[in-house]
């Protein structure tokens, strides 16, 4: 049995899934107690455990808002930030608090130290941080992924004095100093909160005698072990959309194609894309609370309208959303919504269909339109907005910069061949969406617990960035802390082998069994470097374990 839990803003959903065939054995829904996330989750787990033997539980997967809410609600540790930025753009980090300090020294793009910091600087900073009752620290250098020596020195010096010291290079191999600073800051900021949550979970499981491993869902649609998440809690932010996306891929039939996935909520409709069945990612990393980070995340965007959007006439024009004024009239609300239009069109059942019809008819009368036509117009406009949002998103995704002639000429673009929809009005809207989008639309069963299913079935993901420089004779993989000597003859073939084995062991560390599915090379290049009439290589390889499902469910026809 696999337990999957998705904690949303108001509710927490849990499922128990049979590990051998993906059957949903049990499901529960509970309100979230925002003052005690652990208690909310633990109550849900206990509920799910009823009727399940403890020994049968293979794994427990959680998608939580613990870190996300800590950031958004500013319930974070007091963080001191030490930067070695050297020359370049003057990004400001003063919004990160009073304790952001620069040290001298810099490292260049090859990872060659230009000059180091003065040891006295760190001594003074440490004393100041302690005086200012700093709880956690982040140390970040420009190009630290290429050479982390400064960050390591600073971490070693500060380690014993603060609860957490986050080193920028450990969070991502990607180059982007300002994002690295913010990612490290957020990691340090949520460490305490997340650790406390994780320890509560561990303690409770121990008390109950449950030995199953716990995994936390990440924003990229993969999981990380609880231990891994304690070290890099920033990776657990914004996992909700990933849960929704992974749930949809689990529930839908076709797995390999380019698809667009829609999650129609009350206020918004979230969009995702799959390219050959693999989620399309945010190009650089996700943004949270205005902080652009290096946290890898599935691409998602929203259309500002959902089933409960406020429908009204403004200056003779029909407006839908973006605000929501409560439930649809059909479900006890006071204001007309797209849901009421669906009820009027007879494609959706409702509790208060009479009141709903009256509300719609009265607005239709105002503009002298037959109510049936008016209901059709509301749904027509709704679908048109969704189509425009899809088109704009695709335009953006398909114009991401490319850097090789081959990519430019090949022009691989994401072209959805079908659409998957979940959410309250999914089924009722499907045929209208089909007409508007000109694509087959599928609405899976059990969509109301798609997020919990997604959390349950997601498997670990990992990404590593390898750089081998045969002139400097250095190989680096920041994500796994590898900085080692290589020979002058190191080549691309060996680099690729190494990258694959490294990403697989990163995956194993996160709990994937010996055979690691989904490990692949995503980027590879080898550049000739010429220096004083000798040629060297600058080799770059990226590898990942791509998001996927631990087991493939057979879709149940609804």
């Amino acid at each position: 049995m696999i337990i999957g839990i998705d904690m949303g803003g108001t509710n927490i959903d849990g499922v128990v899934i049979a590990a051998h065939d993906g059957r949903i054995v049990r499901q529960v829904k509970r309100p979230v107690d925002r003052s005690d996330y652990f208690r909310s989750i633990w109550n849900c787990i206990k509920e799910l455990l009823r009727g399940t033997e403890k020994e049968d539980i293979k794994r427990i997967n959680l998608s939580t808002t613990v870190s996300t809410n800590a950031i958004v609600e500013n319930r974070i540790s007091k963080v001191g930030v030490i930067l070695q930025r050297g020359p370049g753009l003057k990004w400001r980090f003063d919004d990160l608090g009073e304790n952001v300090v620069d040290v001298t020294g810099s490292t260049d793009h090859r990872g060659i130290p230009v000059s180091g910091e003065n040891p006295d600087e760190l001594t003074k900073i440490k004393a100041d941080f302690l005086n200012n009752s700093i709880e956690a620290a982040a140390v970040v250098g420009k190009f630290s992924t290429r050479n982390p020596e400064f960050e390591k020195r600073a971490e070693e010096y500060l380690r014993d004095s603060f609860r957490e010291v986050t080193m920028g290079h450990t969070l991502s191999g990607r180059l982007n100093f300002p994002r690295r600073v913010r990612t490290a800051y957020l990691n340090a900021a949520v460490c305490s909160t997340f650790k406390a949550f994780a320890e509560n979970i561990e303690e409770a499981l121990r008390r109950e005698g449950i030995g199953a491993p716990v995994y936390i869902l990440k924003a990229d649609g993969g999981t990380v072990s609880l231990k891994g998440a304690k070290a890099k809690p920033v990776e657990t932010i914004l996992s909700g959309p990933a849960a929704s996306l992974m749930g949809m891929t689990a529930l839908l039939d076709e797995k390999e194609a380019d698809r667009c996935l829609l999650d129609i909520g009350g206020t918004t409709t979230d969009l995702f894309f799959l390219a050959d069945g693999v989620p399309v990612f945010e190009p650089s990393g996700i943004e949270i609370g205005g902080h652009k980070t290096l946290v890898r995340a599935v691409y998602s965007t929203s259309a500002g309208l959902g089933g409960d959007s406020y429908v009204r006439m403004e200056d003779g024009k029909l407006k839908i959303g973006p605000e929501r004024k409560g439930h649809a009239v059909a479900f006890g609300g006071k204001h007309l919504t797209p849901t009421d239009a669906l009820v009027y069109l007879g494609v959706m059942e409702a509790e208060h269909s009479r009141e709903s019809a009256e509300a719609l008819e009265s607005m239709a009368k105002e503009i002298r339109m037959p109510p049936g036509e008016f209901a059709g117009m509301i749904i027509g406009n709704f679908c048109k907005s969704v189509r425009e949002t899809i088109e704009n998103a695709l335009k953006k995704i398909n114009s991401n910069p490319v850097y090789t002639i081959k990519e430019l000429l090949d022009g691989r673009t994401v072209k959805p061949r079908s659409v998957g929809v979940i959410g309250g009005p999914a089924k009722a809207l499907s045929k209208y969406l089909e007409r508007e989008l000109g694509l087959p639309v599928e609405y899976p069963p059990n969509h109301e617990i798609a997020n919990a299913i997604g959390a349950a079935l997601a498997r670990p993901t990992a990404e590593i960035t390898l750089l081998a420089d045969t002139e400097r004779e250095i190989l680096s993989i920041p994500e796994t802390g590898v900085y080692e000597k290589i020979g002058r003859t190191y080549d691309l073939r060996r680099a690729k082998e190494r990258a694959l084995s490294e990403v697989k062991s990163a995956g194993q560390a996160m709990g994937i069994s010996s055979d690691v599915p989904g490990a692949e090379i995503t980027e590879e290049s080898s550049f000739n470097m010429v220096k004083e009439y000798r040629a060297y290589k600058n080799i770059r390889v990226k590898a990942q374990i791509k998001p996927g499902l631990v087991i493939c469910r057979k879709a149940e026809r609804g």
């Binding site: 500013n74 050297g86 020359p87 370049g88 753009l89 003057k90 990004w91 400001r92 980090f93 003063d94 919004d95 990160l96 810099s106 260049d108 793009h109 090859r110 230009v114 420009k142 190009f143 990607r174 180059l175 982007n176 100093f177 300002p178 994002r179 650089s284 205005g290 902080h291 652009k292 114009s399 910069p401 490319v402 850097y403 090789t404 002639i405 081959k406 430019l408 000429l409 290049s525 550049f527 000739n528 470097m529 010429v530 040629a535 600058n538």
Partner: protein, 442 residues
């Protein structure tokens, strides 16, 4: 929390076409190889340029045969000479024009390779790593698409842009200004002050040859005292900067002492609408910093923090002797600019044909070419011109150009001349009709 600190916003919206062509090289260890923009890309990524609000990245277009035909006579033909990488580099510049003239951004910078400013009207092969004049192709495309305009091309590459000079030699609507290391000390050897343009555009080719060792101070002097006053008077609709980066003190092929700060300041004062990367082969020590500096200057962001790791103020200061020489050259150029009409009248007044003999060396491909250009001044338009050319590999051609603003009589004359050239002993005849945007090669 303060909101302001999280964002960085460009004052000028800037379009960047960063296309490093990581799968193309002239040869594996040639300076124009895959690695050339690798460290620039690293630097720009690490600086977080992609997150600056108002800076947008665009992929290049791919130039078509017609785009190339507007500028070049390719022998034996475009297909034989021009690779996909050239079409994309030119397409990158075309995209830069679209960004600005189509209103997406205020300015744009095409960081593309290979460069183009040594590619002349006749193309037998590669010269100075160039086959297609990317800026000229971009500008011709833009003029066709957005209408004619008065343009100044300011070439800050260390090498004289002999290709660009050749293309606009007789075009009064395209002012070409080049600062470069004196041709007596560097490839391609051209670019003396006395080369001032053809009879219809005399004075609109401005060469400013500078002595080896010229540094930030010298470039600044030339810009403030000569280039800006000329531009002030010319009043171009558009300024293009051929932003070669080999005046840098670390460049392996040249002998100048310009810095990243110097380049950024120059760009900021010049205030070009469009910049195009040309040469520059100090790919680790210069390009990452110079490109960052230029981008910030174009976006009107604070570039004062950009510096090479090994830059020390004072170390690259030019000598007193150079300061004096730069001042003398600069003043002479300005003096000639002011007297250009009288000088032109004296040289070409009353002439119906002006001939010019040239020898052209293709260093990359080892070809020698000799050509005779003929300009036919007309009172109503710049007049039809032609190039008769042959090279030491036995190729020969004649090409006629009917300029964009040709009068009906000259347009007809162009076709007549092309027809009459049938009898000539040349392997290929070309006609560029830039009025109708039609091109013939037989």
């Amino acid at each position: 929390m303060q909101k302001g600190g999280k964002r960085m916003k460009a004052k000028n919206k800037l379009g960047l076409i960063l296309f490093p062509a990581f799968d193309w090289a002239i040869s594996p260890t040639h300076p124009e190889r895959e690695e050339r923009l690798l460290y620039t890309q690293d630097q720009l990524l690490e600086e977080g340029i992609e997150d600056v609000e108002g800076i947008h990245f665009f992929n290049p277009l791919i130039a078509t045969k017609k785009d190339i035909d507007r500028v070049h006579f390719c022998y034996p033909g475009m297909e034989e000479l021009v690779t996909e990488s050239h079409l994309i580099a030119a397409g990158g510049v075309m995209r830069a024009f679209d960004a600005v003239l189509g209103g997406e951004t205020d300015k744009s910078f095409a960081l593309v390779r290979p460069p183009g400013h040594h590619a002349q009207r006749v193309v037998y092969g590669d010269r100075g790593f160039c086959i297609v004049n990317t800026e000229a192709v971009g500008l011709a495309y833009a003029r066709r698409k957005y209408g004619d305009m008065r343009v100044a091309v300011v070439d800050t590459d260390c090498h004289h842009g002999d290709g660009t000079e050749d293309i606009y030699w007789n075009d009064p609507d395209t002012l070409y200004i080049s600062f470069h290391q004196d041709g007596r000390t560097l490839y391609p050897g051209t670019g003396p002050i006395e080369d001032l343009g053809g009879p219809s555009a005399f004075g609109y080719n401005v060469n400013i040859p500078l002595p080896p060792g010229t540094g930030d101070e010298g470039f600044q002097y030339v810009l403030e005292n000569t280039v800006l006053p000329i531009l002030e008077e010319y009043k171009p609709d558009l300024i293009i900067n051929s932003a070669g980066q080999d005046n840098h003190y670390t460049d392996p092929l040249t002998n100048m002492s310009f810095s990243a700060q110097g380049y950024a300041k120059l760009n900021s004062r010049l205030n070009p609408d469009i910049a195009v990367l040309e040469g520059g082969y100090s790919i680790q020590g210069a390009l990452p910093y110079v490109n960052t500096g230029i981008i910030l200057a174009m976006a009107e962001l604070d570039y004062s923090g950009v510096a090479e790791p090994d830059y020390h103020l004072g170390r690259w200061k030019q000598s007193e002797r150079i300061t004096g020489e730069v001042k003398r050259i600069s003043d002479e150029v300005l003096d000639i600019w002011r007297r250009r009409e009288a000088l032109g009248q004296k040289l070409f007044g009353g002439k119906s044909s002006v001939k010019r003999n040239r020898r052209v060396y293709y260093d990359t491909d080892g070809i020698f070419e000799s050509q005779v250009q003929e300009f036919r001044p007309c009172p109503d338009c710049p007049g039809v011109d032609s190039i008769k050319s042959r090279n030491d590999l036995g190729a020969s051609l004649i090409g006629f150009t009917i300029p964009r603003k040709a009068c009906p009589a000259c347009q007809k004359a162009g076709y007549d001349l092309f027809e009459k050239a049938k009898g000539l002993d040349v392997k290929k005849r070309f006609l560029q009709d830039l009025v109708r945007d039609e091109f013939f090669a037989v």
